[in-house]
Symmetry: C2
Subunit: 122 residues, 2 copies
């Protein structure tokens, strides 16, 4: 059974949609790197049961991403926020070194606070 590391990323977005057994199986497998046998022992189910849970969970994660595209959207949001942060830092440096405007400094502070909030939403 090949591991697709995109699964670990999708888990962050859609993990709450899985059943508890599916979620435990796939988290042990992808996040904790346990073997199917070890997971089976932990959950009190067969190796084949673990495999079925993981396969079903993977299918749900990919189907949800296909329909909602959240991982793709949040990756684009991340890129834009990084570009905004970089350019705010440029404005900040320029302002601090040359113009020393309090108004600009205040607005930069507000923007940095909002960027922090956005960072925590993920």
């Amino acid at each position: 059974m090949a591991k697709d590391m995109k699964v670990a990323y999708l888990l962050d977005f859609y993990g709450d949609l899985l059943t508890e057994k599916q979620r435990n199986s796939i988290e042990y497998y992808y996040n904790d790197d346990l073997s199917l046998g070890e997971i089976g022992t932990n959950l009190g189910i067969s190796r084949q049961g673990v495999r079925d849970n993981i396969k079903r969970a993977e299918a749900i994660l990919f189907e949800m991403e296909d329909k909602l595209g959240l991982a793709r959207k949040f990756s684009l949001i991340d890129q834009s926020l990084a570009a905004i942060k970089k350019n705010i830092d440029i404005i900040d440096t320029r302002n601090m070194r040359i113009y020393r405007s309090n108004d600009i400094n205040e607005s930069i502070k507000v923007i940095l606070k909002e960027l922090d909030k956005l960072d925590q939403l993920k």
Copy 2:
């Protein structure tokens, strides 16, 4: 059957998760304001069938929001982006009137372009 206008908003996020009949029924009802009878005629199903589709669809939308919270997240993203935009405009005005820095102007342009991109992601 009372209309909860939050449903129309949730439809934007989770509409793709509904079956075609559920989606048609709920869109006719919430977005086009048709009666159950009119929707039934359009879809070739009974008035009760339409009602069942809408009830089931509403339950799915609220369940998805409860688990994924996308509507809530994107509403917070909107608020932060509005605050960022407002403060970029303040910096822009200040720079244009007083400092006339090309570097700051260039960075503002990049940020506005990224804010536009983020606006289109919704």
